[in-house]
Symmetry: C6
């Protein structure tokens, strides 16, 4: 995978950081299962499986910890 998809962990806002966390979660899946067709088929399944959705949400939470720390928790951006 030679394309550049992660130039930085820095995002302007917490919300964009959350979106990046979702992206990282999916990218790890992509590196294990490179077929978009297979992934789409699987997503159709786990999007209707509560346990899988919760587990996916946990992965996002773990990446969001990393990204939030990388951004100093956006502390100057007190909304």
């Amino acid at each position: 995978m030679s394309e550049q998809w992660l130039p930085s962990l820095v995002t302007p806002t917490p919300q964009e950081g959350f979106d990046l966390a979702v992206k990282l979660s999916r990218m790890a899946v992509k590196l294990t299962q490179p077929s978009a067709e297979v992934r789409d088929a699987l997503r159709g399944g786990y999007a209707h499986d509560a346990s899988d959705l919760i587990a996916a949400s946990h992965v996002v939470a773990t990446h969001f910890q990393t990204i939030a720390a990388a951004n100093g928790y956006w502390r100057t951006d007190r909304g």
Copy 2:
């Protein structure tokens, strides 16, 4: 999802931080399963499944770690 839903990780109190952790947990699910109808149907199921409830509680715990750190653990707010 263009609406702004996460302007800041800073909350006045630990309890509001906990509520935000619950919100982040649900938002990650929403980004994977955008249909409110499907999510409501699933919630009806996992709200009666102990394993799912515990797993959902774990996601909240992970987000709460992030939010607590972002708020310096609300240390000046010694209740």
Copy 3:
């Protein structure tokens, strides 16, 4: 849920911090499944299921990390 149940993460001792971690674990469940009756029924089940008990213990461990950090690990309180 308007009542105040989490005024602070600071506790006098590690043991009270551990009790608070247990409380936070249960509160996240409560926010997902508000019915005390249903929760009591589920607890009767998972209290006899090893996998659920271990998973619940993991959630407590995650919250205890947060609370221990919030208290500076109670380092002045060397027992």
Copy 4:
């Protein structure tokens, strides 16, 4: 549970910190399932279930993170 069982997170050595992590893992289970008889019966089962043993090991790892941080990673104790 009024007895004092966790006076401090500080331990003289990493190994004693690891033992304390095991103790914390079990204590969270104890607080959910207070009956020693039931717990012993469950342990007989999960001690022969690989998935449960791995999950229990994960809880220990999480507590050990907390305890290691509390002890400054025992860095002066370079073995």
Copy 5:
């Protein structure tokens, strides 16, 4: 396993850090199941199992936390 495969946690970019996280996730599997043949057979299975893919993605997220911290979150490398 005497060959050297992990000389450093430092990587030039976040993306190479992410690749390293994937490598660490697989290496832990390799140390438990040394047979490449068995691992390949298993990968054929879990690459089509949504729960396993999500769980594998979680392991990557945990390693990425470590690697990102090791690199100071690549903060000078604001893309």
Copy 6:
């Protein structure tokens, strides 16, 4: 278990730190299931179960976080 098996979390290299993380993962299992015979039988099973292998890899990742932090991420050892 009176023998000394964990004198320090400090290791000369990241790779030796990773090996130590694997050792800690197994030690927690050993403390729950002391019979080497039973553990060997279980390992024969979970070494062929993708979900168990991934879960075991997650435990290693958690311990590796601790050990990497204990070693200051081996930052002077830029390979």
